[in-house]
Symmetry: C2
Subunit: 613 residues, 2 copies
C-alpha cells in the first residue's frame, strides 16, 4: 500500500496554491472565526446558554467550530506567526476541558439544550460532531505538541466505545451523518491505539444491517440510501444519498480496506468511485446534483441551473480520491482532485476570501429566477451570490482546512516510487528525498522538478487526463496516468504539458448538455458571465474552430479567454416564433472567465455549458 | 362590431374536424359520463350523499357535470340520434329542479355537505359552478326548446343578483374562479334580460378593487394576481395568474367591451392578448407555463418538460380569441385558435378518445423523471400518460363541449364582410349566404369555397400566419391577415396555401429553446418520440437543409414526417467528458409525428424543440 506525504513535509511556494494559502491565513480563517463568534457558535462551547437567549446552540455547531480549529492547527503548523489563532483555539479547548462530562461526553447542544436526548436520535449528528472534534484534537497535538485537547477526545472516544460497543446503551448502533469513522482511523493512526480502529470498523460494519426502521411518526431512521444505510457497505456499488455523508463514509471504507487488506471492501470502493466520477460528477468536480437530500441522483442526471454540488461534497470527494490513490496509485485519482480543486471547490470562495457558496451551480439564469420568484416557486432557485455565513455553515471551515492542508495532495510514495500528483510552486523533503517544483501552473504547463535522493527509485510524474500532448526531458513509461522515470541522486526533470484551449463535450446520456460544450484550459473549466457577454447566455454559441485569445487578469489570478462565437439578434425577431433562419445570427466575441471566479462582480447570469455553432 | 356565426348554421363534413366530432359523439361524451357516474359526480345532483359514504361531493363537481350537459346539448343539436344523452341530461335536470332551494340556490356540495358555508369563501367555486350551469341551461334550451332547466338557472341568477348586488349578504363581492361573468353575458344574450348583463358587469367591476385581504390564517383571499384581482380590470395589461381563470375573465371583458363599446376595457383586452400570445404562449398554443398556481409566469418563461399548459387553458384561450375577433376581425386571432386546436388542445385527448391530459408538456424525459423519483423530488415531474378521469376533472367535459361547438369558429361577419376564419370540409348557411368548403386541410393547403349570396359584400379569407406563400383564384387585398375578395352572387374561390415542412425558432429570450427548432407543417406542430427515435432525444439534431419525406398514418390521421438528422454515438465515448469532436456524429433519420398524437404508444420520451446541426 502506498502512502501520501503529509503537508508537514511540503512547503507551498508563491504560485497559485501559495496565493490560496496566503488568502486563507490572512483573510478566510479570521473571517470564519468572526462569523462563528457573531452567531454564537464559539460562545456555545462555554455551555452557558439559557433558554430565551439569542444564538440558541444547534446540534451540529460543534462540528463547525471543530473544523475551524483543525484549520487553525494546519495554518499554524506552516506559519506560527499568524496572529490570534493559537489563543482563540486554546480558549475553546479551555471550554471543552471544563465542560466535558465526567464520562467523557462533550456536545455543546445536547449537554446544554436537550440533555435527555443524548444518543437518542441517530440523525442528530452527535457522532459527526465527535468526529470533527477528534480530527481537530489530532491536528492540534501535531501542531503544538500539547496533548490536553487530544486527551479530552481520547476520553470521549473511549466513552463512545463503551456506549456503542460494550454497553450498547444508545438508541442506535450506527452514526447518521458519517465522519466519526474516518476520524477514529486518524485517532488510531495518531495514537496507535487499536481500539479506535476497531471502533471505526464497528461503525462501518453496523451500517446497512438493519433494513428500514421507522420512528413513531413513520419517518425512516435507518435503512435509507440518504445515509448509505440501504445495504452493508461491502455490498454497495454506487455513490448514493447525501453526498458529503457518502464521501466521508467511502473515505473511511478506503482507509480500512487499505489498513486491513480487505479486498471486498476495496472492490466496493472501486465500484463506488466509478459510479461517482464517471456517471455522477459535474465537469467542475461537483457531486450531489440534487438539493433534495443534498444527494446524488441517478446516472447522468446532472442539471446545471439546479446543480447542488455542495462545497463540502467536493472537498470530501478529494478526501476519498486521495485514499483511493493510496490503495493503488493511479493518475485518475489526482485528476479528480485537480478538477475539484481548481473548479467546484475553488468556486466556493469569493476572490476576497471572505464569502462562500454552499451550492455551486453550473448555470445562473436571472430571468428564470425572477420568473420562479414571481409565481412563488423557489424550489429550484440557485443561490446567485456568496454569503459570509450560513445557518448551516459547514462549508466555510471545511474550506479553510482544505486549503491549509493542500500540501497533502502533492506526493504519494510506495517502496519503489514517488508519485508526483499535483503541480505547483513548492519544495518537499521526505524520506531522504527533496523535490523542488518550479512552475507557473496552471497558467502554463511547464514544470521543472529538481529532485535529489531518488537513485534506485522511480519518479512517476502525472500526465493529467486533460492533457493530449506533452514532452518530457526524460524517457519514461506511461502507465496508469503517470510517466515513470528512473530516478537518480540528482536530476532535473522538465515536463511540458500542452495547454491549449479545449472544448469538452459530455456523453449523450447527459441530456442537459446536448449540443453544448465547456471551454477548458489545462485543469480550469471556464464559464460565461452576463456581465461580460450580455443577456440570454444560453443563446450564445462558440465556433469550434475559432482561435482563442488570452489575457491575464490579476484580480482573478488567471487568464481570461476570448473566442469567436455568434448569437441571434433579438432585434431581428418580430414574433415569438418565426421560421428558422441563419440570417439572424451575428458574430460576437465570447469572453470566458475561470468558473471559480464567477459571481464576483454582482448578480449575473452564468453558464458553463455553451452551445456550439 | 362583428359577430361570430354559431355552429347551428354550420355543418362540419367528413374532414379532420368531422372525424373529431364523430369521435366526440361516439366515444368521448359517453366515456366522460361513465367516469362521472363512477366517481359520484352525477349522483351528487340527487343530494342524497351522507357523511361516511364514498364519493363525497366536491365543491366544483357541479361544474364538471354542467360542462358535460352543455356538451351533450351541442352534440344533440347537430345529431339528435346520438343515444342516451337526452335522457341522461333530463335526469340530471330532474335533480336540479327537485333540489334547488326555494330561494334559487343550487349547489350539490354546499347544500349537502357544508350548508353553513354558503357564500362564505370566495375561493370555493360556487359562482364558477353557477356559471357553468347557466351555460348548460342556455345550451339545453337552444337544443330542445324546453325551458325547465333555463328557468331554474334564471331563478338562480336572480338570487345571485339579490345576494351580491341588493342584499350584499355574501362574505365576498367578486367571484374567485371566473366563469359566471361570461355565463351571465350568455344568459343576457339568450333572454334579453338586461339585469344579467349588469350583474356580469358588476362582477367585472368589483374585481381588483379591494387590495390584498387576508383571512384569519393570513392567506390572501383577495387582491392576488392568481385570480386577476390585483387591480381593476380596466387597468390590467398582462396575462397573469391562474390561466383558465384569466381567460374566462378576459373573455367576459371582451364581451362587455364590445356590447358597451367600452374603449378602455377593449384596450385592456388588447394589451392582455398581446402579453398572452406574444410573450407567454407555447408554440402549441398552451398557456400557463407553471404548475405553481396553474399560472402564467413572466414573459418568455416557457420551460418544456415542466410545461403545465392546461387543456382547459388552451380551450379558454380560443374562447378569448374568438371574442377578440368580434371586436375587430384580424387573422391573428384565428391563427391562435388554429394553433390551439391542432396542437395544445388536441394533444389532450388520446387517439381513441377516452383518456386525457390535464397538462400538455412539450418534453418528456423518462430518465430525468426516474432520477427525480429516485430522490423523492416529484415537483417537476410531467404526466406521461393520459388518464380516463382526474380528481380535478375539469378538462374532459371542456374537451367534449369544445369539439362539439367547433362550428362556432369558422365564420365571423359584419355589415360588409364575411370572414372565413378556419378551413375544414363543411357547409354553412346564414344571412342568405351559403358557403361550402371542400378541402383536405390540414393535410394539404388547397381549399375550394363555393359561395352564394355574396353580391355586394366582401369575402375575407384568412391567410394563416404560418403561410409564407399562397395562390388564390381571385384577386383581393391582403389586410389584417385576410385576403379580401369582392363577393358575387355565385363564386368558386380556390385558395392554395403552400404547406412545406418548416422549422420554427423561438426568440432568443426563450432560453429553453436556444439552438433548437420545432418542426411544423401548416398548422401542425410536430414532435419526436422515443419509441420512434431511440433514447436521448435532446441529443438528436435536425439538418436544416435536409429534404423531408411524408407518409400518411391512418391511425394518427395525419402525415408523419422524416427528415435527415444526426446524433452522437454513445459507443464513441469512453469517458463522461471528452474533447469535442464532430467524428462522434452519426447520420440518422428523425421521425416526427404530430404533437397532438404523442403518448399513444405507451410511455415514451417526447420532444418538440429539437437541436439543429
Amino acid at each position: 500500500m502506498a502512502g501520501n506525504i503529509k503537508f508537514d513535509c511540503v512547503d507551498i511556494g508563491a504560485g497559485f496554491w501559495g496565493k490560496l494559502q496566503t488568502r486563507n491565513k490572512n483573510v478566510t480563517i479570521h473571517s470564519v472565526y468572526d462569523r462563528f463568534c457573531e452567531t454564537g457558535r464559539v460562545q456555545a462551547f462555554a455551555h452557558t446558554w439559557k433558554e430565551g437567549e439569542p444564538n440558541r446552540p444547534h446540534i451540529f455547531w460543534d462540528s463547525d467550530v471543530a473544523k475551524w480549529m483543525e484549520s487553525a492547527a494546519y495554518i499554524l503548523r506552516k506559519d506560527p506567526t499568524v496572529p490570534k489563532l493559537e489563543a482563540q483555539v486554546e480558549a475553546i479547548i479551555d471550554n471543552i476541558e471544563r465542560n466535558q462530562d465526567a464520562d467523557g461526553y462533550f456536545n455543546s447542544y445536547f449537554q446544554v439544550v436537550e440533555p435527555e436526548k443524548r444518543w437518542q436520535v441517530r440523525a442528530w449528528h452527535e457522532l459527526y460532531c465527535a468526529g470533527h472534534l477528534i480530527e481537530a484534537a489530532v491536528a492540534w497535538h501535531d501542531t503544538t505538541g500539547r496533548d490536553r485537547f487530544l486527551r479530552c477526545m481520547m476520553k470521549y472516544a473511549d466513552y463512545i466505545e463503551r456506549v456503542f460497543v460494550i454497553d450498547k446503551s444508545a438508541a442506535f448502533t450506527s452514526p447518521g451523518h458519517e465522519e466519526i469513522e474516518l476520524a477514529l482511523v486518524k485517532l488510531w493512526c495518531h495514537t496507535g491505539e487499536e481500539r479506535y480502529l476497531k471502533l471505526a470498523e464497528f461503525f462501518l460494519d453496523q451500517r446497512g444491517t438493519t433494513g428500514v426502521v421507522l420512528d413513531d411518526r413513520g419517518h425512516a431512521v435507518s435503512g435509507t440510501k440518504n445515509i448509505q444505510d440501504h445495504m452493508p457497505v461491502r455490498e454497495q456499488t454506487e455513490a448514493v444519498g447525501h453526498s458529503v455523508r457518502a464521501m466521508y463514509l467511502y473515505s473511511a471504507m478506503a482507509d480500512v480496506a487499505g489498513i486491513r487488506g480487505d479486498a471486498v471492501l476495496r472492490t466496493a470502493c472501486e465500484k463506488i468511485w466509478d459510479s461517482a466520477v464517471n456517471r455522477r460528477m459535474y465537469i467542475t468536480g461537483g457531486i450531489g446534483s440534487t438539493r433534495v437530500g443534498e444527494a446524488f441522483s441517478l446516472d447522468y442526471d446532472l442539471p446545471n441551473a439546479s446543480a447542488y454540488a455542495e462545497t463540502c461534497a467536493a472537498i470530501a470527494l478529494a478526501f476519498f480520491a486521495t485514499r483511493m490513490n493510496e490503495l493503488k496509485p493511479d493518475g485518475k485519482y489526482a485528476d479528480v482532485i485537480e478538477r475539484v480543486l481548481y473548479n467546484g471547490f475553488l468556486s466556493s470562495t469569493s476572490l476576497e476570501g471572505d464569502s462562500f457558496f454552499y451550492e455551486n451551480p453550473l448555470e445562473i439564469d436571472l430571468d428564470r429566477n425572477r420568473a420562479r420568484d414571481a409565481v412563488g416557486d423557489t424550489g429550484m432557485r440557485p443561490i446567485t451570490q456568496r454569503v459570509r455565513v450560513f445557518n448551516c455553515s459547514c462549508c466555510p471551515p471545511n474550506i479553510t482546512r482544505f486549503v491549509a492542508e493542500l500540501g497533502d495532495f502533492l506526493y504519494t510514495t510506495d517502496d519503489t516510487t514517488v508519485y508526483v500528483n499535483q503541480y505547483t510552486e513548492s519544495t518537499a523533503d521526505f524520506d531522504g528525498i527533496t523535490i523542488a517544483q518550479q512552475t507557473n501552473y496552471p497558467h502554463d504547463g511547464k514544470i521543472t522538478l529538481k529532485v535529489t535522493g531518488m537513485a534506485g527509485k522511480t519518479l512517476a510524474v502525472r500526465i493529467p487526463g486533460w492533457c493530449g500532448e506533452y514532452t518530457c526531458s526524460h524517457t519514461g513509461t506511461l502507465a496508469d496516468g503517470y510517466l515513470r522515470i528512473p530516478g537518480a541522486d540528482e536530476m532535473t526533470v522538465t515536463l511540458e504539458l500542452a495547454m491549449p484551449v479545449t472544448l469538452i463535450e459530455s456523453r449523450p446520456e447527459v441530456h442537459e448538455n446536448a449540443g453544448r460544450v465547456a471551454l477548458t484550459r489545462g485543469p480550469l473549466v471556464y464559464c460565461l458571465e452576463g456581465v461580460d457577454n450580455g443577456p440570454h447566455l444560453r443563446d450564445l454559441a462558440v465556433l469550434p474552430e475559432g482561435a482563442a485569445q488570452m489575457e491575464y487578469d490579476a484580480k482573478i489570478g488567471a487568464y481570461i479567454i476570448e473566442v469567436p462565437g455568434c448569437r441571434r439578434d433579438p432585434a431581428r425577431f418580430h414574433k415569438l416564433y418565426e421560421p428558422y433562419s441563419r440570417a439572424r445570427r451575428q458574430d460576437v466575441r465570447l469572453r470566458f472567465i475561470p468558473y471559480y471566479a464567477f459571481a464576483n462582480r454582482g448578480e449575473s447570469d452564468m453558464l458553463v455549458w455553451v452551445r456550439t455553432a
